[in-house]
């Protein structure tokens, strides 16, 4: 049973990373690096809690996605329209997200760092499977967002590889000049990629607040936006790869909780595990994998 529970908790931990990593796949495939995903998760967690507090969880999720998309819009304007350094813009997004949520939290909840308790979506049991004993922790009483996140993996994969939109999105990340000469609106595609990543990150933040913790807490994203970027790289810019990488990170976190219960290692070291793992993963993998050819390079019309 322990194994089942461990897997279930891995999955719960993996979902926010997975959702953000899927978003990262879209933005990177369009050729825009988005370090601001962490900030988009932050606004997602806050606005999700806010929306849920006043209008219920469904509205919370939607408003979180809108908030993530809004931050992404700023990033897109900065990087696509004005062609400023993508990493710098991303960092500014993160600082803005942090400052604005603190500000709003004070203004609205009168507390700088937490929201009141909010309820998430009703938990569901997966029919048929829920009766099978070893699977119980995995399929009973789980958040619908987990199901959604898992469904989004093949959907994203399909969109990227099997649709007109996906083909064009990828072409813009690989060779924007070529795409432009074929009449593809490079700017539109890049905006689409960035905005999608914001929506995903917003949803991911809302999952943390609504489904995982039941409230907004400042700093609850704990760098998972950055870890998601690592997961996306580890997953070779593919949704399915991102899934496995996220599960690895989720598993490490779930495992670390078990270790804490043991109490042998100081818990500060346990807290480091996801970050150390990210470093190790990047160290082991980076030289072998290659992202989209024009990722991180601003595109300028008529530039030669």
């Amino acid at each position: 049973m322990l194994v089942g529970e461990l897997l279930a908790s891995s999955l719960r931990m993996a979902v926010p990373i997975l959702l953000t990593a899927l978003g990262a796949v879209f933005t990177e495939r369009s050729g825009v690096v988005n370090i601001g995903l962490e900030g988009m998760m932050i606004v997602g967690s806050f606005w999700g809690a806010l929306g849920a507090y006043y209008y219920g969880p469904y509205f919370g999720l939607i408003i979180a996605m809108a908030a993530g998309m809004f931050m992404a819009l700023i990033h897109a304007i900065n990087t696509v329209t004005f062609r400023v350094d993508q990493v710098v813009s991303g960092v500014a997004i993160n600082i803005l997200a942090y400052g604005s949520t603190r500000f709003l939290s004070l203004a609205i909840f009168n507390m700088a760092t937490t929201s009141p308790h909010v309820s998430g979506l009703p938990k569901i049991n997966i029919p048929v499977l829920s009766g099978i004993e070893p699977l119980k922790p995995l399929v009973n009483d789980i958040s619908p967002v987990i199901i959604l996140a898992l469904l989004l993996v093949p959907i994203s994969s399909f969109v990227i590889h099997r649709t007109v939109f996906g083909l064009r999105l990828r072409s813009v990340g690989e060779n924007p000049l070529a795409a432009d000469t074929l009449g593809i609106n490079v700017f539109k595609m890049k905006y689409a990629g960035v905005l999608l990543s914001g929506i995903f990150a917003g949803l991911s933040g809302a999952y943390l607040a609504l489904e995982h913790t039941g409230m907004y807490v400042e700093g609850m994203t704990q760098g998972q936006g950055f870890i998601a970027l690592a997961a996306m790289i580890f997953g070779n810019w593919e949704p399915k790869g991102a899934l496995w990488a996220s599960l690895l990170f989720g598993f490490s976190e779930a495992l670390s909780f078990r270790v804490v219960e043991g109490g042998v290692v100081p818990y500060q070291f346990i807290k480091m595990i996801p970050y150390v793992l990210t470093l190790l993963v990047l160290t082991g993998v980076v030289k072998k994998s290659t992202g989209p050819a024009a990722s991180g390079v601003p595109y300028e019309r008529g530039l030669k």
């Binding site: 099997r162 007109v164 939109f165 064009r168 070529a178 074929l182 009449g183 593809i184 050819a293």
Partner: protein
Amino acid sequence: MEKAVVLKGITKRFPGIVANDRIDLEVEKGEIHAIVGENGAGKSTLMKILAGIYQPDEGEIYIFGKREKINSPGRAIELKIGMVHQHFMLVDRFTVLENIILGAEKSSGIALDEKRCRKAVEELLALYNFSLNLDARVEEISVGQAQRVEILKVLYRGADILVLDEPTAVLAPQEVRELFNNLRRLKSEGKTIIFISHKLEEVLEIADRITVLRRGKVEGTAIPSQVTKEDLARMMVGKPVMMRFDKEPLDVGEVLLSIEDLVVKESSGRPLVNGVSLKIRGGEIYGIAGIEGNGQKELAEAIIGLRTASAGRIRICGRDIADLSIKEIRDLGVAFIPEDRHRQGLVLPMKVWENMMLGYHTKKDFLKGRSLNLKAIRGFTKNKVEEYGVRLSSIEQPIEGLSGGNQQKVILGRELSRGPKVIVASQPTRGLDVGAAEFVHKELLKMRKKGSAILFISADLEEVLSISDRVGVIYNGKITAEFRPEEVTPEDIGVYMLGGEKGAGEAK
């Protein structure tokens, strides 16, 4: 006859330059119309205007008799104008099929309908008798095939007017022949073809009419049967083409650069330089002729230490450089004029004088104690600027504001002023106007006289033949033949450049 394209008074200005100056041009439907001119004559700008990449500042465009504004590449496609760019606009990691259909995909709902796309492309292949593997990735196919992909891309979009920008620049002769056959077939199907080139012979062979551009203006239009190559050349350059140098015979010195069985591999393991051996003595210019992409760049980069040899040996003045750093190799007296000035030769945002010390900033005369001697560096720069006649407003200006020729002069001033033993000049006149190119040649000949060993790499065969003491032809990473220029004609060498076998024309 119906006019496919009519341009009236097209003018396009870039900061500080008029690239197209009141251009008038008429292209009839179903003809192959060549546009020739030197580098910088404004051919590419004109074509980019047709393709909707640039907007003209003045003038009118008529396509099939109707006045049109081509304000985007998408609009050009709607008007059935298809561009085949000189530098291929392909997505390397996509398949041939994906590249062809991109932007004009057939779909069912939001999903790609790959089957229908494939069928449409296969029909085109059959119609024009092209052969291509649709599932190969573009990064794996040959240059000639990549060009066919480009042509198919525009045909797939239903283009009636095809614009080919320097299509033969990258092709081997057989491939050129195949291209010409394809173009004639397209013409017979009623397509209009605009063919940009500066290779006069080719133009005379394929074109129905020829328009000559010079310095952004139309110099005149000619019919191939009524003009000679020399007439066209005169129109292009404004004066008869002369490439004769005062190259006095010299007693050559010791071997300063020797290369034995050099192999340089790509990271994937594919050999780019595959067993090159050569020796250059002091006072000698060794020219490397060959079609671009046959290992020239990698050969040059191996000598300066930018690439490591996986086999073989390079010796500078007898010293094996295998375990030396780039700096140590330069300290042996190797000067390097890189093929890509902007990427490898200069730091564009930096000031002119800063670029003048790049790589030599730790030389004693540029230092005062452990700091830079800015006075000395500025003084050196001023001297060189004066000596070479570099046009600039101030040596404090970022070098990106200078023209290509003046930038190259700065590189020459930097690289040649310390009495180098070995000079590696990789495409040193590329993109320069005639005057600047002549300057480069003169300076290199001066260095030859001073006793440097010079490796001169150029894709321009006439240039190589006129400046070099010996010429090696590189093909597929190998030197396939070696000549003295006076012993051969360009045609002989052409055979080797295209991978012809040793034997027939061997002159050694």
